[in-house]
């Protein structure tokens, strides 16, 4: 590489490497402020239940407890964390009507140490009216299934938000329609159908979620948090707490792993509310168990696929129905549904597409961003289908892919312009590296 560059093409020392390797780098639980309190969230005992009453009096009387908050101490708005095409606002800071998954947020406590907080959580008494719950998204879509959300708000910051009724627990449906799939199937020599499932997945970054909030006498908020996206957290906190943007400073501490799991709000609003109520900084750190119960996961995925292909290997039509189990709240469900549709329509090339992606509410832990964002689930389904097509046509699976791989300059069926694309080179190179030519002996020998 040319020596004209001082950074590009050079090995540059990791900027924070020395800090990290000597244990000096500050992660969220390393932040300590004078007179800092510790906070935790009281979580739902049930997957689906109406809250009839919350009695916090015993917890408030416990020595060392400085504040207990419930929904009445919050602005009682609904918020959403993802703003991709449609913004869905369905999440409360602390629930004011019902809990929608085991782990949903009921109350929050701040006290002088963690032991006292945990003691206080045990003293909060909640009267629940347990409701029937639904965990399977296909069951949730049937008429008569328990309703996870009755309504939510959809829109954007410019045009405003409209209240929408929820039918059959479907939060939103993302569609990709191009060409004429019926014609495509008629022109196909082979039509294959399949049903694919992919399970949920927890990020399990080694550092758990957490935040420290401090409020000064003028009401200015300083919030430290372990996050991938300090600016979206700031934007979201403005939305959910009604604070002016200029009053809140968000500082991302060293982030101990995220993989998409820290694209979201967890304890930030609660830490701020408790700091405002007590006048003292409040630190809230997720336990490892809370990571599994109450942080986002990769969307579990059910996919019905129908592919039509000509006997020379050209894909003629693709029809797909994706069901994303978004759990109790929509979070990044909209974006993931869109992306799975875009991938379906682009990989591999096809002119006739009919894709429906349903983002379905259930009483499960809710899905969010996880590295891949729908890609792993959809690509697994597509690549498996391609192998099945190749087998049915008795064609070399590498050859089938090379015939249908998109190239630079094309527009995919969903309207995406493929700017640059090394897929064909990649497939060819991979095949060469593993010695595919020598290894492939046809489908009969498998």
């Amino acid at each position: 590489m040319s020596d004209a560059f001082s950074v590009v093409g050079k090995r540059v020392p990791q900027k924070d490497g020395v800090d990290l390797v000597t244990g000096v780098g500050k992660f969220i639980d390393d932040i300590v402020l004078p007179k800092m309190l510790y906070g935790k969230i009281l979580r739902s005992a049930h997957a689906h239940a109406r809250i009839l009453n919350i009695d916090t009096s015993k917890a408030e009387k416990l020595p060392g407890v400085k504040a207990v908050i419930t929904a009445k101490d919050t602005p009682r708005l609904r918020y959403g964390v993802a703003q991709i095409y449609d913004e869905i606002r369905d999440e409360p800071v602390l629930t004011d009507d019902k809990v929608r998954f085991y782990g949903d947020r009921v109350a929050a406590v701040a006290a002088v140490d963690v032991d006292t907080v945990e003691e206080a959580l045990d003293l909060i008494e909640v009267d629940y009216e347990v409701l029937p719950a639904v965990f399977d998204p296909e069951e949730a879509m049937k008429p008569g299934a328990p309703k996870v959300h009755e309504r939510f708000y959809k829109g954007d910051g410019v045009h405003g938000f409209k209240e929408c009724e929820v039918e059959n627990n479907i939060c939103i449906t993302k569609r990709v329609l191009a060409g004429d799939v019926e014609k495509g199937f008629k022109e196909s020599d082979v039509i294959l159908e399949g049903r694919y499932t992919a399970h949920g997945q927890e990020h399990s970054h080694l550092e758990t979620h957490g935040a420290v909030a401090a409020v000064d006498l003028m009401g200015n908020i300083k919030l430290w948090t372990t996050t991938q996206t300090p600016f979206t957290i700031r934007r979201d906190l403005v939305k959910m707490l009604g604070i002016p943007l200029g009053k809140i400073d968000v500082i991302g501490t060293k982030c101990g792993g995220a993989f998409g799991g820290k694209n979201e709000v967890t304890v930030e609003p609660h830490a701020i509310l408790l700091a405002q109520k007590t006048g003292r900084p409040v630190k809230m750190i997720y336990s490892r168990e809370e990571e599994f119960i109450a942080s986002t996961i990769r969307h579990p995925f059910i996919f019905y696929s129908k592919i039509g292909v000509r006997k020379d290997g050209k894909l003629m039509a693709k029809q797909g129905k994706a069901i994303l189990n978004t759990g109790a709240y929509s979070n990044h469900g909209v974006g993931v549904a869109y992306l799975t549709g875009a991938i379906f329509a682009t990989l591999y090339r096809v002119e006739n597409v009919n894709y429906e992606g349903f983002v379905v509410y259930t009483n499960c832990t809710y899905g969010g961003a996880f590295r891949g964002y729908g890609n792993p689930q959809m690509t697994f389904a597509i690549e498996t289908e391609m192998d099945r097509v190749a087998e049915t046509l008795n064609m070399n699976p590498v050859e089938l892919r090379l015939i249908n791989a998109p190239v630079a300059g094309e527009k995919s069926a969903c309207g995406i312009l493929v700017g640059s694309c090394g897929l064909k080179d990649c497939i060819a190179q991979a095949a060469k590296t593993v010695g595919w030519e020598n290894k492939w002996k046809g489908w009969e020998t498998r």
């Binding site: 005992a45 049930h46 085991y102 032991d115 003691e119 168990e289």
Partner: protein
């Protein structure tokens, strides 16, 4: 951990025993702590009195026993056992078993007695305070249901997941238990019952006595777990084989399975089958089938691992163990 306790550092075994007697039922012995402390943090057990036996001298040793075998003190760490030259040479199966427990940091503080006396584990019992808060108590917690076996009329106690127990059983080891009425020595194979181990509330396991093994005996401990370290065993097998290498004949064999069923068990049928036979791959296959048939009647599901899965793994482990023993015998 949230709960507080009174803390003692007895300077003699007698003092330790008298504390166990005085605070009957409310005191726990604290050795390495790698089993007890997580249980206390999850509030599965919350002793009001903690008796730190590590400060009591005279419990950490590996000593030859007058030409009859070896005596190992209760507080000997698992790392000391896996690296001890005399154990590696003469009781290799124990060094192997100890080396597979957890990972190095655990083995550096975990004791052999702790590994033997560890609490039996149940998927529904060994959970956090928060998890258990929302479930009605099971039998072990004074309730009237077993979540692991819904039809059960009493606590099923689930599984002892010790690695060293099957190895020590195969070695024919004994354990010395010292209590307020004196001491007793019992074979370790009789130490484990389905309802728990036979340690009385006032007793402390102070020593493990391992007899010398026959001159041509080779021992192998293998275990299966999802990860190579960190995990408890899903199935563990301890095999000691005495070979007549000239004729490839199996003179004697001990086959013990651990973690598959509530307590380790011997597969007599497979031992009887193999004894006196010339060992070749067909014989090994047949022995594996006998093992699978036996394990299938005893294996119980734990978490994600079904009884069928454990049975399959048992068949694989026994084959590998016998083959490894044959290699060692040469």
């Amino acid at each position: 951990m949230r709960k507080k306790f009174e803390y003692f550092e007895p300077e003699t075994i007698e003092e330790a025993i008298s504390l166990l007697v005085k605070y009957k039922g409310q005191a726990r012995l604290f050795a390495g702590g790698t089993d007890l402390l997580p249980l206390m943090k999850q509030e599965v057990v919350s002793p009001q009195y903690l008796v730190n036996i590590k400060k009591t001298p005279g419990l950490d040793y590996i000593n030859p026993d007058n030409g009859k075998g070896l005596k190992v003190g209760a507080l000997t760490t698992l790392h000391a056992i896996e690296t001890s030259p005399v154990i590696r040479e003469k009781f290799g199966i124990l060094a192997q078993a100890a080396s597979k427990v957890g990972y190095l940091q655990i083995r550096n503080i975990g004791s052999i007695a702790g590994n033997i006396c560890q609490g039996y584990r149940c998927w529904y019992y060994n959970q956090s305070h928060d998890w258990r808060k929302f479930w009605a108590p099971c039998y072990k917690r004074g309730g009237d249901i077993c979540y692991a076996d819904k039809g059960a009329k009493r606590c099923q106690n689930m599984v002892l997941r010790s690695d060293t127990a099957p190895a020590l059983i195969a070695l024919g080891a004994k354990v010395k238990l010292v209590g307020e009425d004196g001491e007793r020595v019992i074979p370790i194979k009789d130490f484990f019952e389905k309802t728990g181990n036979r340690l009385r509330g006032d007793e402390i396991l102070t020593e493990i006595q391992i007899p010398d093994q026959p001159p041509h005996a080779c021992g192998v401990y293998l275990r299966w777990s999802p990860r190579r370290a960190l995990d408890y065993p899903v199935a563990g097998t301890a095999v000691i084989m005495e070979m007549d290498t000239e004729n490839s004949l199996c003179r004697n064999i001990k086959i013990i399975f651990g973690s598959v069923a509530p307590v380790p068990f011997e597969v007599d049928e497979a031992e009887d089958f193999l004894r006196g036979k010339k060992i070749d791959s067909d014989i090994i296959d047949m022995a594996a089938q006998i093992v699978r048939d036996s394990v299938a009647t005893k294996a119980i599901k734990f978490g994600d691992h079904s009884a069928d899965y454990k049975t399959t793994m048992a068949g694989i482990l026994i084959k590998q163990s016998i083959e490894d023993c044959l290699k060692l015998a040469k």
